[in-house]
Amino acid sequence: MAATFELEVATPDRLIVREQATEATVPGKDGYLGILPEHAPLLTELGAGPLTYTVGGVRHTVMVGGGWMEVLQTSVRILATVAEKPNEIDLKRAQGALDRAEQRLKDAGENDISRALAAADRARARMAVAAEFGR
């Protein structure tokens, strides 16, 4: 029996994942982080991207759009601003959001750039997760 840790992913309005995972790859703000059981305690801000985790040998993916992560020896808690399972992603909306964000990047002044970038990141993350599930 491989060692596991409890993985919890919560957004303000619901708890999306609560499982005993053996591994997780998390989109940190400054790059992806691989988490295995008994990881050293860690706190980080998250960026937008696919979060993959393994439960009982099966890999799962959810889209995470920013938030925070707290890693403890036996548990990983993720507070996500938004999080969606692959089947919940609205591809058309993501594509539309990406187009709008890119448009904003082109003609916006300096003040809007970080928001547009964040929006584009979220849209790309959604599309990447959806693509992985062949949709």
């Binding site: 957004t11 309005d13 708890l15 507070l79």
Partner: protein
């Protein structure tokens, strides 16, 4: 003495009212279930955020940039803002007056402070507008189906006003959902953010500096507190309305019973009178 027809009218009218109160009770019961689920669903995130904030605050304590954070500035309270979470509609027992009176008492107990109201829900807005308070914002239809985006927008606005120095403190006033029978008025301070002092128990690796992390967590904390109070208030509203309408339906049953009894007495009396008239008429002929 009212005639039989008057009694019948009265009974019919009370029955109509009772049908409405019964229907409202059922509707509230259904909405309550959904609202309760939303409260429960929102708890994990709020709990985790609280713990994380405590940890990060402990680690970042004493750091200069922490004390400079715009959402932590302690100022002398001259102007304060109350975000008042009430219902859009009445017929919910003491629900609205609980929040309104509670908030009013709180403000009266702080005489040196000029209060403004950011109203979530129509009933609270009306109450304080009649009493001449400044209403800085008016948000409705939150309780129908609480939407995180809407609530977060209010939180952002309030935080911005605080950071700009327009107000020196921000409070939340709402009804907390204890159970279907009890809702408790709560008044909590959200700005300046009361940093929890749990102390650090774990030595974390920080991917970002602790103060930076804290800075990004704080605005979210204000959003979550407001979000939670809206959810609690929504659940409380439906619970209060359900209880009130249940009481009203039962009261209607009592009224119908009483009026029916009176009606039967009057009917009996008129029958008795007729018999006496007939009997006395007959005996007069003898």
């Amino acid at each position: 003495m009212p005639s039989l027809i008057d009694f019948r009218r009265r009974i019919r009218s009370v029955k109509n009212t009772q049908q409405i109160t019964k229907a409202m009770k059922m509707v509230s019961a259904a909405k309550l279930r959904r609202a309760q689920e939303a409260v429960v669903a929102g708890r994990p995130f709020a709990g985790m955020l609280q713990r994380m904030l405590a940890n990060v605050a402990g680690a970042a304590a004493g750091n200069d940039s922490v004390n400079d954070h715009p959402l932590l500035q302690q100022r002398e309270q001259k102007r304060a803002l109350v975000v008042l979470v009430s219902a859009d509609r009445g017929l919910a027992g003491a629900f609205n007056s609980n929040v309104n009176r509670g908030a009013q008492k709180f403000m009266q107990d702080l005489p040196g402070v000029a209060f403004e109201i950011e109203a979530v829900g129509k009933k609270g807005r009306d109450y304080f507008r009649r009493r001449g308070f400044t209403i800085t914002g008016d948000h409705q239809n939150f309780s129908r189906k609480p939407n995180y985006g809407d609530v977060a927008a209010v939180a952002k606005k309030v935080s911005a006003r605080y950071a700009a120095g327009e107000v020196d403190a921000v409070y939340l006033a709402y009804n907390e959902f204890k159970s279907v029978m009890t809702q408790q008025f709560r008044m909590v301070q959200v700005l300046p953010v009361p940093l929890p002092t749990g102390g650090v128990t774990t030595n974390y690796i920080y991917e970002q500096p602790a103060d930076e992390l804290l800075g990004s967590l704080l605005p979210r904390y204000v959003e979550i507190e407001l979000w939670r109070s809206v959810l609690e208030s929504t659940a409380s509203e439906h619970a209060a309305r359900m209880t009130a309408m249940d009481a009203a339906s039962r009261n209607a049953t009592d009224v119908i019973e009483r009026v029916t009894l009176q009606m039967n007495r009057v009917r009996q009396a008129s029958i008795t009178r007729e018999i006496i008239e007939v009997v006395s008429g007959a005996s007069a002929l003898k």
